[in-house]
């Protein structure tokens, strides 16, 4: 009976109700990718949802990390930095002047050759916009960039920096094909930001062919790319908002890559032979932050007590399905200089209560833990964490705010949330970069503005030091101080999973958690 009804329905629909599998042939060397949203911008200085995923494919750095192979998989080697768009470089004895010599014959998709003026223009743009790129410049002590000749570009630093070469691996400040971009400059828009909302002009492996707002973006390989042509000459990124649908598309072979499956889906995917899942180090902490400028978090004893009150193993199981690692430092384990020895907040409710008593904690006050939907783990983590606080008598409650509210209120201009969840991690695998980003009073991801002069002093000194052991010593002190001051509830580093078609290979994890399409191939 059921079979008959099925036939009727199928007949009605011309047998095309189910996924059209035949078309898989037609795609050829096209990589079809399902992401939660289509990119809302293509400009690395003003990160919008989905921007970072794609600008890394288009804008490549003067330098790049070396690679190593472990157990048949490619990994970056954070200890080796080699030339990329730059061929070689020299630095002055005081470490404040660097001259990079560009590789010759590097061309954009528009056919223009990379020159030192392009590098200078990109940095001027970032410095003028005072956003992401400007932060990178600050953390690397860069104060000026100048073209010396067609292929030579000079970086001026306020102080020596061990971060500079690693920072130059990044997509921002971007190296734009200035010749093309300048065609689209207007009087009100000297950096052609309007044009960049729907266009790209980089020297990297891909460039944007077309974009349909909110739906999809199509990239094609740069025909003039200076390295080997990528395996996939076309990448179609489609917005599929539902995580469940993304998984279904992958399993049915309709897409070859999906962005960040939820951890609850990973277990299911790992059992599916049509699909390949691979993990990599977790670099961002799924953290809960306390704002020292709002009671009761001004008192260090309260912050420590909140840390003791939380059972991290329960969170790892109940929120992350076992796929996470307890956070034992502000610096993630993947970064050299990570020191877990100061970690001391294992679950200890008695200790928490004792500290709260010492702090004269008012158990009648309502403590709202704000969370958003930006990260999938936020809701369960906030609910379960609030429940754990309730179990020692704290009136904690998880309260959702909108994603835009979360971003706006965490921005440096506001930072008025007393207690909230967020995920941040360094995109430069360096301890000083990490602490500057997350714990320095000027760090852009220090969203509860933890501002401790002792911490700032340690980081500032380390930023200007070329003496590696001394720098590491300062970072150890910073990690100890951070643990002692406990501005965050140190929760976990969730591991990062990628899910792809079974025949895709070549994925190499990058510190920004975005795959490079140029790495991928079918084999």
């Amino acid at each position: 009976m059921a079979v008959e009804r099925r036939d009727i329905l199928l007949g009605l629909a011309g047998a095309s109700l189910a996924a059209p599998m035949v078309q898989a042939q037609r795609t050829g060397r096209t990589l079809l990718l399902a992401a939660p949203a289509a990119p809302e911008g293509f400009e690395g200085d003003a990160l919008r949802p989905g921007t970072q995923e794609v600008v890394v494919q288009v804008y490549e750095g003067l330098t790049r990390y070396g690679r190593t192979v472990r157990e048949g998989r490619d990994y970056l080697d954070p200890n080796v930095i080699e030339g990329h768009l730059a061929e070689s470089w020299t630095s002055s004895p005081d470490g404040k002047t660097w001259v990079f010599t560009l590789r010759r014959g590097v061309r954009s998709a528009f056919g223009n050759e990379l020159t030192a003026a392009d590098v200078e223009w990109g940095w001027q743009k970032s410095l003028a916009q005072r956003r992401t790129g400007n932060f990178i410049a600050t953390v690397a002590n860069v104060t000026g960039v100048k073209a010396l000749s067609q292929y030579q570009v000079e970086f001026t630093l306020s102080a020596p920096s061990l971060i500079l070469l690693a920072a130059l691996t990044l997509y921002v400040p971007g190296i734009y094909d200035m010749t093309e971009v300048k065609r689209h400059v207007t009087a009100e828009d000297p950096w052609a930001l309007k044009w960049m909302e729907t266009n790209t002009a980089g020297f990297g492996a891909y460039h944007l062919e077309s974009v349909r707002a909110g739906e999809q973006a199509v990239f094609v390989s740069n025909p003039n790319y200076f390295r080997d042509q990528p395996f996939f000459n076309r990448v179609i990124l489609r917005a599929v908002p539902s995580a469940a649908s993304r998984i279904t598309l992958l399993r049915s072979g309709q897409v070859q890559w999906i962005h960040r499956p939820f951890l609850q889906q990973v277990a299911e995917l790992r059992a599916d032979r049509r699909v390949k899942t691979q993990d990599s180090f977790g670099r961002s902490m799924a953290s809960v932050r306390m704002n020292l400028r709002y009671p009761p978090f001004g008192d260090v004893k309260v912050r420590q007590a909140f840390n003791y009150a939380i059972d991290k193993n329960a969170l790892i199981q109940g929120v992350f399905f076992g796929l996470a690692e307890q956070a034992r430092s502000i610096i993630p384990p993947i970064v050299a200089g990570y020191d877990p020895s100061f970690s001391r907040y294992d679950h200890d409710p008695a200790r928490a209560l004792a500290l709260l008593a010492e702090a004269n904690f008012d158990f009648n006050q309502q403590v709202d833990l704000l969370y958003s939907q930006i990260f999938n783990w936020e809701e369960p983590l906030s609910i379960q964490l609030a429940a754990q606080l309730q179990s020692i008598g704290i009136k904690a409650r998880a309260a959702r705010i909108s994603d835009s509210d979360m971003r706006a209120r965490g921005a440096p201009a506001r930072q008025d949330m007393p207690f909230f969840s967020f995920e941040d991690g360094p995109i430069v695998l360096d301890p000083v970069y990490t602490t500057f980003l997350l714990a320095h009073s000027q760090g852009v991801s220090n969203r509860a503005r933890f501002a401790d002069p002792r911490m700032d002093a340690l980081i500032d000194e380390a930023r200007q030091s070329l003496d590696v052991p001394h720098r590491n010593g300062l970072m150890r002190q910073a990690q100890a101080l951070w643990m002692e001051e406990a501005p965050w509830i140190a929760t976990v580093y969730p591991s990062v999973w990628e899910a792809m078609a079974a025949n895709i290979s070549g994925w190499c994890p990058h510190p920004d958690d975005h795959e490079r399409w140029v790495d991928l191939k079918i084999a």
């Binding site: 649908s245 609850q264 109940g318």
Partner: protein, 285 residues
């Protein structure tokens, strides 16, 4: 129930089985809401991190959700939340709408014309979108949810009452009350209201059904009552995430509870309207 009430109830249920069934369903939910603290097998908001997404069976007949909370307990506890929103919302609607309907119907003229046009627009404007937008703007507290639903309900009550007032305005007893020198408010509330309120009462059940639906929708979209509160809409929201990976129980059970409760209220309202007005004017929704 008194001895006199019983035969009447039996009579009513014979005349309108819809009303009787609706009443019984609601009685069931009311019992659930009142007795919830005594009959739930688990604390509905207790997270069990080592037992998330357990399938129905054993200690958890409806399974556990994404936080390891017992779905059966949450479905039971949800009844109190549904009543807790619907009843005050309808009260707000009546308290605001009925006096307004009385006044505008009695006064008539341009005031009445403008008010009715305004209500016309409000009534057919997608109320769900209006409710969502306003609650999202005002913030998702219980108070705001109740207030917004109640205010959006008030035009319905105003219209019903106004229609009755128009019919009664020139009736003998109102004319004589006016001739006796009663002030307007006294005529409205003492003389007209008792005769005009019946229609509003029948509407109350239908509007309560709407209130339950809207508040669940708000929570489903993440704009209303917040998790981990055991609110059915919020539970369906969480369940939606798991429905397509096979953990259907998280969203299906609260959905069934929601349908039953709304159905009960709608049947009650439908039956009441039948009883009060057997011919069923086309104007009522």
């Amino acid at each position: 129930m008194t001895a006199i009430a019983w035969p009447r109830l039996v009579g009513i249920s014979r005349r309108s089985p819809t009303l009787a069934i609706g009443f019984l369903i609601l009685l069931g939910f009311a019992a659930m809401a009142v007795l919830a603290p005594f009959i739930v097998p688990f604390d509905p908001v207790r997270a069990q991190p080592f037992n998330v997404l357990a399938a129905p069976g054993g200690a958890h007949p409806f399974g556990t959700d994404g936080n390891g909370m017992d779905v059966l307990s949450r479905v039971i506890a949800g009844a109190a939340w549904a009543f807790g929103i619907a009843i005050p919302a309808v009260v707000v609607g009546i308290v605001v709408g009925v006096p307004f309907g009385l006044y505008t119907g009695y006064r008539g003229g341009w005031f009445d014309e403008v008010a009715m046009r305004f209500f016309d627009a409000l009534r057919v404007f997608p109320s769900i979108i209006l409710a969502l937008a306003v609650v999202a703007a005002a913030g998702p507290s219980l108070f705001n949810v109740v207030l917004v639903i109640g205010l959006l309900d008030s035009p319905v009550f105003a219209r019903v009452v106004r229609a009755e007032v128009l019919a009664l305005r020139h009736s003998g007893f109102v004319e004589s009350a006016r001739a006796a020198g009663n002030p307007t408010w006294r005529i409205l509330f003492v003389h007209i209201l008792p005769n005009a309120i019946q229609g509003a009462m029948a509407q109350a059940a239908v509007r309560a059904a709407w209130a339950v639906r809207i508040s669940a929708t708000l929570a489903f979209l993440g704009v209303g009552i917040q998790p981990p509160t055991p609110e059915w809409g919020a539970m369906i929201r969480q369940g939606a995430e798991y429905l397509v990976t096979g953990q259907w129980w998280v969203g299906v059970f609260p959905g069934i509870a929601l349908i039953l409760m709304v159905l009960g209220l709608n049947m009650l309202g439908d039956g009441l309207q039948d009883l009060l007005d057997p011919r069923r004017k086309a104007a009522t929704r």
